[in-house]
Symmetry: C2
Subunit: 125 residues, 2 copies
C-alpha cells in the first residue's frame, strides 16, 4: 500500500485548482469539506447531488481533488480521512478558495427552489 501522492504546495497550480472545481460534484464535495473544516470519508458523498453517484466515480473525483492539491487523504482503518488543504492554498493563492466557495454558495442560493436544471458546463451531468 503505497502512501497516496499529494503534490507539494509549490507545485499546485491555479489551472489545476480551477479544473478540479469546475465539476459540480467536486465543488460540492470540496465546499462541504472546506466549510466544515474537518474530515469525511468518501461514502458520505454518495448523494452530494440529487442523483446517486457511483462508487468508482466518487473515487475518481476524490483522486482529482487530491492531485490538484485541494485535499489531503489518508487511510484511517478501512476508510479514508479527507481534509481540505485550505490553509496552505490560502498562503499560496490568497483569497482564491474563499471567492470560489462564496460564488458557489451564491449560485446555490440563486437556483434553489426554482426547479431549474441549470446547465453547468454545456449541460453535462
Amino acid at each position: 500500500m503505497r502512501p497516496l501522492f499529494h503534490p507539494p504546495i509549490q507545485d499546485v497550480t491555479v489551472e489545476g485548482i480551477l479544473h478540479a472545481l469546475s465539476d459540480p460534484v467536486r465543488v460540492a464535495i470540496f465546499s462541504d469539506l472546506a466549510n466544515s473544516g474537518c474530515a469525511y470519508n468518501c461514502s458520505t458523498f454518495l448523494n452530494v447531488t440529487e442523483k446517486k453517484i457511483p462508487k468508482s466515480t466518487l473515487s475518481h473525483h476524490f483522486k482529482a481533488l487530491r492531485e490538484a492539491g485541494l485535499i489531503r487523504a489518508e487511510r484511517r482503518g478501512v476508510e479514508m480521512h479527507n481534509t481540505s488543504r485550505c490553509p496552505e492554498i490560502e498562503s499560496r493563492f490568497p483569497g482564491l478558495i474563499a471567492a470560489i466557495i462564496n460564488a458557489h454558495k451564491a449560485q446555490m442560493a440563486s437556483t434553489q427552489g426554482t426547479g431549474k436544471k441549470r446547465a453547468a458546463r454545456k449541460g453535462k451531468q
Copy 2:
C-alpha cells in the same frame, strides 16, 4: 451571419467560469483582456504562451470564453472585438474574477525565470 451567442448573466455558472479558466491559454487571454479592460482581436494572442497556437484552436478558445459568459465578442469589420464581461460577473459573483486573476499573476511571478515547465493540469499542454 447570425449574431454570436452570449449567455445572459443569470445563466452564467461558477463551474462554467472555472472550466473556461482552467486552461492555461484561456486564462492568459482572459487575464490580458480583463487587465487592459479593452478590446483585442483574436490574432493578438497567437503567441500568448511560449508556443504558437493554431488559428482554429484559438478560435475554439475564444468561443469557450464567450460561451462561459466571460467575454463579449462582436464583429468590427474583418476582425473581432472582444471585451471582458467583468462588471456583470462581478455583480453576480463578487470577487471571483479578481481572485482568479490575482492567483494567476502570483503563479506567473513564482515561476518566472525558473525555466521550469510547470505541470498545469496533469502535464498537458
